[in-house]
């Protein structure tokens, strides 16, 4: 059995040029396994980066390794161990859902019987019921997203690339898909790379963050480290006595703001939550939830983009 590589993605000066436009401009990355969020504004180069790794786009210059193998030389071997859900619809018209997933498994080299069994298991996993026997053309957006996820994991890949997996979904559908994606790494050890411009999605499920803009990597760090940089603020959810807590914070000269969702945003300026917890204890106030560094990702993202624009 092949040992999993310590670095799942390695790129050196990776460039992708479309005409006069540099979609990827010298990307250098060393990414260990995990749940990885690829963030960036529209047109930043996120999808191009994924496509270059999957050989859907040829690399203009530089080099890239995926799962320890050279992209460009071992394409088929790499893709045997990789799953991908593109942003747009890409099903085969006229096919029934379960047939489609079975076929995708066969394309990855699974024998037909195994492919069929796994197709049904994956469709169960993504929460598709009897609609799997319907033609894909009749599916709703939510069903198509689930189907895309099923086809991406049917061959049990080591890494799955998800390009905007929650596009077009209602909040409930988004939550379900994110829960599934989250479980892929946390429960089953499959590395997931989620490309999104929705910070909330990435914040919820990813452990590592890569921020790309104008084809360059601006930030690559763990979410924990990013949040650590922005410590000193927290959102406190309390059932009542909002005003009392606000006044107590102000007495300690902590800026405090009541947000429209009823949460209190407190800038306690400390590296840990202990002073805040201590205050709540003094007030004999049991919080429903404390969210540390609530906007760390957003602030980092905006800051990175501002620097990128300033240096451009």
């Amino acid at each position: 059995m092949e040992m999993p590589p310590s670095l799942i993605i390695e790129t050196k000066s990776l460039c992708k040029i479309f005409g006069k436009q540099r979609a990827l401009d010298g990307v250098n990355l060393q990414v260990p396994p995990g749940a990885i969020g690829l963030l960036g504004p529209n047109g930043a180069g996120k999808s191009t980066f994924m496509k270059c790794l999957l050989q859907l786009q040829p690399i203009s210059s530089g080099s890239a390794k995926l799962l320890g193998r050279e992209v460009g030389r071992e394409g088929r071997e790499i893709r045997k161990r990789v799953g991908y859900t593109p942003e747009q619809d890409c099903h085969i018209p006229g096919m029934v859902g379960c047939e489609y997933v079975t076929y995708c498994a066969q394309l990855c080299g699974l024998p037909f019987q195994v492919a069929r069994q796994r197709a049904h298991e994956m469709l169960d996993f993504v929460g598709m019921g009897q609609e799997r026997y319907r033609k894909i053309d009749t599916y709703s957006t939510g069903m198509k997203q689930r189907l895309k996820l099923a086809q991406a994991i049917v061959h049990d890949p080591e890494i799955v690339f998800l390009d905007e997996p929650t596009n077009g979904l209602d909040p409930k559908g988004q939550a379900q898909i994110l829960e599934l994606v989250q479980s892929l790494w946390r429960t089953f050890g499959i590395t997931v790379v989620v490309s999104s411009h929705l910070l909330h999605d990435v914040d919820r499920i990813c452990e590592q963050i890569i921020i790309i803009a104008r084809g360059r990597v601006l930030v690559h760090d763990s979410l924990e480290n990013l949040k650590a940089r922005k410590r000193g603020a927290a959102e406190v959810v309390v059932a009542d006595r909002h005003e009392e807590l606000r006044l107590a914070c102000e007495r300690r000269q902590w800026a405090c703001e009541l947000l429209p969702n009823g949460h209190l945003k407190v800038e306690h300026k400390a590296t840990s939550l202990n002073p805040l917890i201590s205050l709540l204890h003094d007030l004999k106030l049991a919080p429903l939830e404390i969210i540390p560094s609530p906007n760390a990702l957003e602030e980092t993202f905006v800051q990175a983009l501002e620097i990128s624009h300033a240096t451009a």
């Binding site: 593109p86 890409c90 394309l107 990855c108 699974l110 024998p111 829960e179």
Partner: protein
């Protein structure tokens, strides 16, 4: 309870080889083709024709057996035919290399060229299922993200087209040869008719390859299903209409028709003109009938425009390949 509880399992089996993956693409395409009612009906018609061809060969074979039911039936039908039947039987026994080889070669030549249009029609109906739909639905991305390359995908689709041609043309013709000779009264029929089978295979396999590439090219020309179907049929029908007109005016224009070019290959492979001359000179009764073929037709059968046909088909193949390479990309 979360949906994913206990449903995801890792798979530790062995991946199948590349050829099995290519076969999966081909089989998927062929299954989709056979879901089309018209293609299913055409396939049934082709295999019915194969049964009829086998029956004809069986009856010809029975003429070699003096006391066979066919001979007796012919004699009972008209006692005057008795002498003719006896004469024919003895002649067939004396010259099996001519009687079997020539008749079967001519027989399979006509079977091949008359059944080919059915196959071309079936390909036209299957046009969207080759590449068109995948282009329209971005399914190329899905193929490209799996453990197959663009070449594997195209090979699979090429095999789909070949499979359809085998189902509606080459398969029935070869099956008719096999069953017809299996039912013959003498095993030597297999030996004497080997040239006919060889010609069927050479012509059939080369035409199959050419047609499959042309079909892929037309299928990739647009992502609109109706356009690719229309383009295929317009090209085919226009070629058919143009050929007799061009023969009288500008003969090179005939080579714009792929079916004309394939017919020239058939003439060159089967050399049916030579066989008809042999039949005219040697086979009683049938020879007399064949002598009624006009000298102009005989000239056409004996001197196919093979050079022009090969050049035209080569150009068509290059253009089709260029279309496929340009159009079939993940992005």
């Amino acid at each position: 309870m979360p949906l994913h509880d206990a449903t995801y399992k890792h798979w530790t089996g062995v991946h199948l080889g590349l050829w099995r993956r290519r076969l999966a693409i081909a089989m998927n395409g062929l299954t989709a083709c056979l879901e089309n009612k018209l293609i299913r009906h055409l396939t049934v018609v082709c295999w019915t024709v194969a049964i009829i061809m086998s029956a004809v060969l069986f009856m010809v074979g029975q003429l070699l057996v003096a006391d066979s039911l066919i001979v007796q039936w012919v004699e009972n039908l008209n006692p005057e035919l008795q002498t003719f039947a006896r004469m024919l039987t003895s002649w067939l026994e004396q010259h099996p290399e001519i009687s079997v080889r020539t008749t079967q070669n001519v027989h399979f030549y006509y079977c091949s060229i008359y059944m080919l249009p059915v196959s071309i029609f079936a390909l036209g109906m299957a046009m969207p299922l080759l590449v068109t739909r995948d282009l329209a639905s971005n399914a190329i991305i899905i193929y490209s993200s799996k453990a197959v390359s663009r070449g594997d995908y195209l090979f699979g689709k090429f095999s789909t087209a070949c499979g359809l041609i085998i189902l509606t043309w080459l398969g029935p013709v070869c099956a008719a040869w096999f069953v017809g000779n299996l039912l013959a009264p003498d095993w030597r029929f297999f030996w004497h008719s080997r040239a006919a089978l060889g010609h069927v295979l050479v012509y059939g396999l080369s035409s199959m390859g050419i047609l499959a590439v042309l079909a892929l090219g037309i299928s990739a020309i647009s992502s609109k299903e109706k356009s690719t179907i229309a383009f295929w049929f317009i090209w085919w029908i226009l070629g058919g209409v143009l050929t007799p007109i061009a023969t009288q005016t500008k003969p090179w224009l005939r080579h714009l028709s792929f079916s004309f070019n394939l017919d020239q290959i058939a003439l060159a492979v089967f050399r049916v003109g030579d066989d008809i001359k042999i039949a005219q000179d040697n086979i009683p009764i049938l020879g007399d009938m064949l002598r009624q073929i006009s000298s102009k037709t005989m000239e056409g059968l004996s001197t196919p425009a093979i050079g022009g046909a090969l050049v035209a088909l080569a150009v068509m193949l290059v253009v089709a390949a260029c279309i496929v390479v340009t159009r079939v990309k993940p992005e």
